[in-house]
């Protein structure tokens, strides 16, 4: 019985302790910030949702953009939509294999040690580089004569703006995300699973190829989706390296290659152009395009979440 009498006394003492109030205030503040953050995010999505639904018309997706002064003259955003996906796919075609390779090397090999640390900090540095700096560096590279075949050339002057140039520099944007998620996926696999493979005479390469990468696949997919979402949201690199022309403008008449060597635009630069402050000044079109872009990015993020949670299905005891 003695214990039953003592218990409330202890509880009372804890309730009246001085840190309790400060703790509560801190918790309330954290809650407030969390709710505020949610409210801001919800406001963006809801605002764009209402604006977008008001202005999105099916024919916007299938008409080419045009120069004009009124809503009826300026057409749709077919070309920027194609440009967005072309740039995204091309950038991921570079970033995904490179990122998975770097991730595997850092996680499974990591030798020589100094090189691995250098690679790690390089990737962090790339992740922190302003996109306009990447764009500027891109022009430097792609305007060199040796890479002239990747863009338009006239009278020996290399234009340096093409899908190849933009996608290459955008792949650096996606690379850190792919590397990080690949490493995360590999590091979640317990060491004894690797040992089980070595213990039946498998090499490190065979283990990585047949056991580790398939196990880490959901993480890699998550990284690829997040990377794609990130890539299609960049503006500066597109303005500088894709030319930001209203329509797709092929460099020559070669079917696919000509278009990829040519210039174009993406939804981000289309929004930039048509924003009330932009040259085109067609805000309704800008809202419609922004809505489409947001939906694509949200879908990719949800997809990444689903892929990530599927990866947690198998676990070792």
């Amino acid at each position: 019985m003695a214990a039953a009498v003592e218990t409330p006394a202890v509880a009372e003492l804890e309730l009246s302790a001085p840190w309790r109030l400060r703790d509560r205030a801190g918790l309330a503040f954290a809650w407030l910030l969390g709710l505020l953050f949610c409210a801001i995010a919800a406001a963006i999505v809801i605002y764009l949702l209402t604006q977008g639904l008001r202005y999105v018309r099916p024919n916007l997706f299938v008409t080419h953009p045009a120069v004009g002064f009124s809503e009826s003259e300026t057409g749709g955003f077919l070309d920027p939509l194609i440009g967005t996906f072309a740039v995204g796919v091309m950038a991921m075609a570079i970033a995904l294999p490179a990122g998975v390779g770097i991730g595997v090397w850092l996680s499974e090999y990591g030798r020589p040690f100094a090189l691995a640390r250098a690679a790690e900090s390089t990737i962090e540095m790339i992740a922190g580089t302003p996109s306009i700096v990447l764009a500027l560096f891109g022009t430097l590279i792609f305007q060199s004569g040796a890479l002239g075949f990747l863009s338009r050339t006239s009278n020996g002057v290399v234009f340096g703006r093409s899908f190849f140039a933009a996608a290459t520099m955008l792949s650096f944007v996606a690379l850190p995300l792919v590397v990080a998620s690949t490493r995360e996926g590999l590091q979640a696999i317990p060491g004894h699973v690797r040992e089980a493979s070595y213990a039946v005479g498998k090499t490190r390469a065979a283990t990585t190829r047949r056991i580790l990468l398939p196990t880490a696949r959901p993480s890699v997919i998550t990284g690829a989706m997040l990377g794609f979402g990130r890539v299609i949201g960049y503006t500066a690199i597109i303005v500088v390296l894709l030319g930001s022309t209203l329509r797709l403008d092929a460099a020559d008449s070669t079917p696919l290659l000509g278009a990829l060597r040519g210039t174009g635009s993406t939804l981000t630069t289309y929004i930039f152009q048509n924003a009330p402050t932009g040259e085109g000044n067609q805000p309704t079109k800008a809202y419609a395009a922004a809505f489409v872009l947001l939906m694509v990015v949200l879908a990719l993020n949800i997809g990444a979440g689903v892929a990530g949670s599927r990866g947690k299905a198998h676990r070792w005891s």
Partner: protein, 282 residues
């Protein structure tokens, strides 16, 4: 209502050593053949010596149990037998380990590990189907060949060998990680048996399992010793007593006593062995 306490498996106390009969019914191996020999082997992790000057024979036809308290070096010794210790960067080894007279250091490690396979403490099937777990081992490195159909017979043979086939024959595509713990461990044993090894190493294979699964695996181990040499590390003295033909007691990296199970458990020569077996420490 009066509740009776659950039955307890007692370790013998001082004065009552483990000298009863082994519980298994399998007859002792007829004629053990020496396959591996550990000769004055010392292994250190950096400055820390884990195994100090151990010499042992490993014979086909018998189960060798390595016993001793935690951190006595028995797992390190086991891992050195198929050169898994090499995966630890800081590990250094002196002395020789031979397999059929050839120094294991002269083997390609992957070739050695197909002759001397290992089963771990935690069941660790690969996150794929039961079939693919075995097929992966049978294929050469990362290749896709031979194809599934060609491997089917060998996969079934390995599963039957480990006594798992009857339970899962109808669905070899079942995800391995959805099997029960005991089944997972038998799958790991099947995986280790698939390459027809000469020596099978087991690192506390039953410590994560329930008593029933443990019994199934112990019977399997005793059955397998006719075909290959078996080395098992165990914390569980009762288990060593049940299945071992030879016992090596290690303490602080040294081999204190090695001999037939009956002698080590029944009449240990060393005081430390007697203390450990009677439960004075451990």
């Amino acid at each position: 209502m009066e509740l009776s306490p659950p039955p307890v498996r007692r370790l013998p106390l001082e004065g009552a050593p483990l000298n009863g009969r082994a519980r298994r019914h399998a007859p002792a191996a007829t004629f053990p053949i020496e396959r591996m020999r550990v000769e004055d082997v010392s292994i250190a992790y950096g400055p820390k010596v884990a195994v100090n000057g151990v010499s042992l024979p490993i014979r086909k036809g018998e189960v060798l149990a390595l016993i001793g308290p935690s951190g006595c070096g028995k797992t390190t010794l086991l891992r050195s037998l198929n050169r898994l210790t090499e995966l630890t960067k800081t590990a250094t080894q002196t002395g020789t380990i031979t397999l059929d007279g050839t120094d294991t250091a002269r083997f390609d490690p992957t070739a050695l590990r197909r002759k001397v396979t290992m089963v771990f403490q935690q069941p660790n099937p690969f996150p794929m189907s039961v079939f693919d777990n075995i097929a992966y081992v049978l294929r050469e490195q990362a290749k896709r060949r031979p194809r599934r159909a060609e491997l089917d017979a060998r996969v079934r043979e390995a599963l039957a060998h480990a006594g798992l086939l009857a339970e899962i024959e109808h669905d070899l595509g079942h995800p391995a990680l959805r099997l029960s713990g005991g089944q997972q461990q038998r799958l790991c044993i099947a995986r280790a048996l698939a390459v027809k090894p000469e020596v099978l190493l087991l690192d506390e294979p039953c410590s994560a399992l329930d008593p029933q699964s443990t019994q199934v695996i112990e019977e399997l181990i005793v059955r397998l010793r006719e075909e290959m040499a078996i080395v098992i590390v165990t914390h569980n003295l009762q288990q060593a007593h049940r299945i071992a033909d030879s016992v090596a007691f290690m303490y602080l990296g040294e081999l204190v006593e090695y001999g037939p199970a009956g002698q080590v458990f029944g009449a240990p020569r060393e005081q430390r062995t007697r203390d450990y077996i009677s439960g004075a420490f451990g």
